[in-house]
């Protein structure tokens, strides 16, 4: 088997440090007189930027995933919240988040735990699955009534958007601004909003461009590392520093492709995954790499969660995996609040890949199929994730579709954020069975 040149990513530490600083900034915001807010990673995070340059968010899903990564803390969170009557089949991220509040303990990126849990000045989120807005509604109750505002974005997929749908979202965003002003006592600065909106599109479209580079053979990135890289778009994507880091990463990955530098020393099998991974068991990826020289190129999750993509074509017949245009690329100039809100609403509704397939399993079938084709993958290994009913919607229909299209599919059951729902031996058994049935030999046997 041909050996591939491998190098560590030079900007790895920049990303790591940003994330560490992020959780600390939220914790220490009050020491500097700043503002804290909490919400989904999908919240319109450009909006609170207008409150000032000392505004620090905490996004719930990445925080929940961080909890899950540290098993013991996660177990305590989950058990604490179950005692309050939260059902075990609810969103795993959310239960970790609630449990963290209920224990009054806050987890930092390095796994250290501090008390108390830093209470946000307000919750600002979106609602697309059954949980998002209700997640923060209950969190607010656990924290004795944090003001909470959720934006309904359930207007349908991008290719079916019309002015009235966009306006519905814009109006809610418009109302959110005086609401935030009232809570924080601050005057809103539209210039900061405009800057944030530009930065958001830049960061999301650049991430999409980085993902496209993974079409190369050997692939310059493997998914496990991508988890550490895409996360900035989920914690603070409207911060101009994030866009800058993605540009730096893009340049480096592009150069790796040119120089033939890959993510793995051996690449004999290229696959995609589906759904958020079981965060406490990322060794699944290492196992596939070490035993089978199999590389995960990404997932509609990893690509689409924080990426801006063209998505479905106008007729709704084909999925297009091309980066979405930034305002500059679209020839749009944003000069005032109304334009900024409209841009961010439309950009997210139209191009946020992970929002599109919530309205039809047909979209998700096309999206997944096209990804496998465009990135030249050999197969897909799907995580049937008990921890997220949104990401789990349509998965079995997609499985059926892909099998009929002749694409090898394996499924394993687990939970992105509840380590108790994952069975390691069974999962490795699935992987071995799949590889053996496809005739992929173990490299350890070679």
């Amino acid at each position: 088997m041909m050996e591939v040149k491998v190098r560590p990513l030079e900007c790895w530490n920049d990303f790591k440090k940003y994330r560490e600083r992020y959780y600390k900034n939220y914790l220490e915001a009050k020491d500097k007189g700043g503002i804290r807010w909490a919400g989904s990673a999908w919240a319109f995070d450009a909006i609170p930027h207008g409150l000032g340059e000392d505004v620090y968010p905490l996004t719930g899903e990445p925080y929940g995933a961080t909890c899950a990564f540290f098993h013991e803390f996660s177990r305590q969170c989950l058990e604490t919240i179950e005692r309050k009557g939260a059902a075990r089949d609810l969103c795993g991220y959310m239960r970790n988040y609630w449990g963290s509040i209920a224990q009054n303990k806050y987890l930092l990126a390095d796994g250290s735990i501090v008390e108390p849990f830093p209470r946000p000045d307000f919750n600002f989120t979106i609602h697309i699955c059954c949980s998002h807005a209700k997640w923060y509604h209950y969190a607010a109750e656990l924290e004795n009534g944090v003001p909470t505002y959720a934006v309904d974005i359930s207007v349908g997929p991008g290719y079916l958007l019309d002015d009235k749908k966009i306006n519905y979202v814009v109006k809610q965003l418009n109302d959110a601004i005086p609401w935030m002003e009232k809570i924080t006592g601050r005057e809103y600065d539209d210039e900061l909003l405009i800057k944030a909106v530009y930065a958001e599109a830049d960061a999301m479209s650049t991430w999409a461009k980085i993902c496209k580079l993974n079409q190369a053979r050997p692939a310059p990135l493997e998914e496990k590392s991508m988890f550490s890289l895409y996360v900035l778009n989920l914690i603070n994507r409207s911060d101009p520093e994030v866009a800058k880091l993605y540009h730096k990463l893009y340049d480096e990955v592009e150069s790796r492709v040119k120089r033939g530098i890959g993510a793995l020393t051996h690449e004999q099998f290229r696959f995609f995954t589906d759904n958020p991974p079981p965060w406490a068991f990322l060794k699944v990826y290492r196992y596939l790499e070490k035993e089978y020289a199999a590389i995960s190129l990404g997932a509609i999750y990893t690509f689409g969660l924080g990426g801006g993509w063209i998505g479905m074509d106008e007729k709704g017949e084909k999925w297009i995996w091309e980066p979405a245009p930034t305002p500059e690329e679209a020839g749009v100039e944003i000069t005032n609040r109304e334009e900024a809100l409209r841009w961010t609403a439309e950009y997210n509704l139209r191009y946020r890949a992970s929002w599109q397939h919530e309205y039809s399993h047909w979209i998700r079938k096309l999206e997944t199929y096209q990804m496998i084709k465009d990135w030249n993958a050999d197969a897909i290994i799907m995580h049937i994730n008990r921890g997220c009913e949104l990401w789990n919607m349509s998965t079995l229909e997609v499985r059926d579709y892909l099998v009929k299209k002749g694409i090898p599919v394996a499924t394993y059951e687990g939970n992105m954020a509840d380590p108790r729902d994952f069975d390691e031996a069974r999962t490795f058994n699935v992987i071995d069975s799949f590889m053996q049935s496809l005739g992929i030999e173990r490299i350890s046997e070679k």
Binding site: V403, N429, S433, Q436
Partner: protein, 256 residues
Amino acid sequence: MIVAGIDAGSKFTKVVLVNENKEIIGTSNVRTGIDHHKTVEEALEEALKAAGISRDEVDKFIATGFGKISVPFADSELTQVVAAGKGTYFVWPKVKTVIEVGAEESRAVKVDENGNIKDFALADKCAAGTGSFVDAMVRYLEVPLEEFGRMSLEAKGNIPMNAQCVIFAESEVVSLLHNNVPKPEISRAIHDAIADRVASIARRVGIEDDVVVIGGLANDVGFVDSLKRELGTEVHVPDKIAPELVPALGAALSGL
């Protein structure tokens, strides 16, 4: 050339010996004890004795099954999915859908006309579609295992099993007994419930004839009958070899 296929299951350990002509020359089936290594040795001894050969005459050992790690001397390992597919295709070449119901796990394997594995599905973490469910129920009914399967065929089949979960099912069986529901009816309700779970796994890979059921539960006529009704198609049980030995056979054949 002689190859031993060793299927170290959670409840039974099975060994099948084949020669270069793909003839089965010896088999064994031993209850898995606490010491898995010891069980493997016992099962192997028994199969060798049946074949009338010594251990030195075996050229290759292929391990499969839940406890394949307990076969340290194995030359290679075969996953249960591939073992089930290979073994069934050999004993039933027209097979397209293999359904294996073991003590603690059930699975469905789709094979093509050349015996290649096209797709597979494993049961979710649930005991409701496995052999251990039958074991638990037999304890409540206090009837021998063979009788339990046979009596199901006599039932009218008008008692549904409402509980979807083994834990609830146990208490439901107890209350059915208290209400003097005839045992054949209870047996039928239990078999239908297991068949329901197993069928739902099999449907994930798609039901295509011939459907062949292997694993220990394939010996239970009540279960096979329920599964036939549930799937609405003929369900075959291998006749050349005991259905629980098929994966060990698949493992042995893979070494040739």
